[in-house]
Amino acid sequence: MSGSDRARGGGTRPPAPRRPRTPGTRRGGHPRPAAVRPRLRLVGLGLALVLVAFTVRLVQVQAVDAATYTEKAAVNRYVEVPLAAQRGDITDRNGTALATTVDAYDITADPFLFTEEQTGVPDAPQQAAALLAPILDRDEATLAGLLSEPGSRYAVLARQQTPQTWRQIKDLRNNLREAADKGTGDQVLSGVFAEKNAKRVYPGGDLAAATLGFVNAEGVGGGGVEAQFNTLLAGEDGTITYAQSGGRRVPTAGSHELPAVPGTDIALTLDRDIQWAAQNAISAQVAASKADDGYVVVMDTTTGEILALAGAPGYDPNDLGSVTDSGLLRNAALQDAFEPGSTLKVATMAAVLEEGVAGPGTHVTVPNRLPRADRNFADDHDHETYYLTLAGVLAKSSNIGTILAAEELGDTQPEANEVLHAYLTRFGFGRPTGLGFPGETAGILAAPGDWNSAQQYTIPFGQGMSVNAVQAASVYATVANGGERIAPTLIRGYTGPDGSFEPAPEAERERVISEETAAQLAEILETVVTSPEGTGSAAQIPGYRVAGKTGTSNRVDPETGRYSGYTASFAGFAPADDPRIAVYCAVQNPTEGSYNGSKVCGPVFNEVMDFSLKALQVPPTGSDFPGLPVTFDPND
């Protein structure tokens, strides 16, 4: 205020006294005693006028225009600086950070300050580029091009560099300034600046990347948990207003601070090590099979917590720029719907056993072809008529046997459809998993009245409906948990800005089948693995009792909507008599080697289950199970 005030006052003042004084001195030059009194009056009048002018100006400045001047002054004196809230971390179940935020700087430049008239050097951009290129790890010619852009006042040289990089540049600039002061060099870096731009880092690289998601350039979650809990993670930005002078804060002037509220940390249920093992195993298998996709879901059967949610191929969220196909950014295990195939037979069998229409030992005669609904259904291989028990139907993964068993669910086929549909729904098919994950699919399970003539026979063995991998895993977790379905969860809890931990709400529990049925199913599934005639022998883990089921289904090509290729899958849990962990594996469209669920996913299941059991230190139960009879003698 004072500056402008003085400038204006100074402008008004000099002319006022000059006018009366100039004539006065002229008259005074010829001394006339009679003129003394009028001259004194004239001077008095002049002074009065000046005083009046001052007073008017004073009133104007201090009272009339006071607000305007205060405002003008405040513009420069008071600055409002935003305080960015620290984004919350995402951790695994043990608190290891999977996503965290660090300080980073965008290195920018003003090309105008690199011109010859500003620096006094004709090749300042080239010199600067040569100095900066090794620090920023960028091409020297590109940098020189950015810096010599004519007419430009802004260029981003490198984004999200570490504070150490920025300090290096500052040191370099200081050295150059000293050199320039001594006259031994030129200051060519005065036009380089830095803008603070916090950086989201994922220490594990591609570990659980699809689940974590990513943060876009605006600092907003662009996928996965980052997007789902963006509001919680982001926190609230604050501001600070203070008086400054010459860029330095004035200590005596008051300041007003609205502190930023840091984001909430989110603890996932994922276990970093199991996640890594799962991701490693599925990536290797997808590469070996030259498949499109693969997923592995590991669940804690006693709590419904997802311990690993891995997909392949993955991506590194630290380097989003290198992801060429945006489809890779999805979480395939939750966003892909596919026909589950034989792994779903366990749900059909659960319905059959729970309804009491058959037991594990019930005899099922399985012909090579079964005429139903204008076509002949077949198993995956031609065979003579099999004489199987119900356990054997699952062990040999017979489609025909499953159709025959499912038909028993009702007196008429529509009734049977109703019953099966009810069970499938209760197992979680055709509805969201409850994770609330962005972009999650609920799968497709038509209402029983809408099942067409073929569907009513294919759905029992997992074709003609689609699921996501977590839904499929949840079925096995349900059977493992004694028939009580626990909604899958991915969030373990939240740590607020005050450091208090708030556990996630209890998962919903819902009884689907009785404990006896679940125990029978577990034995049947164990027979699949232990029986020499079973399809699941690949899953055997020495010392442990493992229950599992293979699946090899026809895959609907998402591009054409027709069956093309296969989905290989394997699901199961262990230990079979006291389950702790359920693992589901699926590989889409394996093109190299076998496409058989047991061959493709069996080893993955085995590796992941073995690792999980060891990681969670699950002891073997020590009991022995000979396996249920798989066949019967028709002559008995």
């Binding site: 504070p163 594990g204 804060r249 890594w276 073997p620």
Partner: protein, 227 residues
Amino acid sequence: MSPKRREPGPQTRIARLTGLVPAGRGSAARTPFVLLIVLLLGTGMLGLLLLNASLNQGSFELSELRRQSQELTDEQQALQAEVDAFSAPGALAERARELGLVPAGPPAFLDRDGTVRGEPAPAPEPSPAGGESSSPGDEPGQPGEQDEQDEQEDRGEQEQTEEPDPADGTTTGTTGAASGEQDPPDAATAGPDGSPPADGATGTGAGTGPADPDPEPDPDPDEEANP
């Protein structure tokens, strides 16, 4: 200071001119009063000056400390990133493989009543490039399972304790390198301290060679009887 000192001057002069105040009457008491005022004003000014100076000093200190805290935060973040990179499961597995470790075989659990659960088997041969894995708790005369279990437990422990250790190692190492205060030999020895305790082994950052890292090599697992 000056306007106040001047004030009594004109006042008395005017008073004298008007003849209201007898001349020279106030002059007797004036000197101490003026001195008092001067003293008061002087101390006030001095106090203000000192206060301002200390405030400014504080402000300088504040910004210096802010800068320091920022630098330390930066360093902490850089070190944390390094620790995270070392303790990431993928990196750990890779380093374990380099050290000649292999994924554990089937585990065995010892119950309180002495029964052994599980079907332990010798660990598979490490890849030819690697060294040999170790199990320090090797007691002769014990059944094979017990050894295997020890080994299992060791690995379990190792998995849990491993994390902070590389942290220490890398922290010391990097601080030494960054500040230049630490002697290079110290920094070099700090590295091995950070390597997994069970192996008591060679430098981690040095890209462990194929040489056997274990000072006390254990008997080959294959030699142990496996009932």
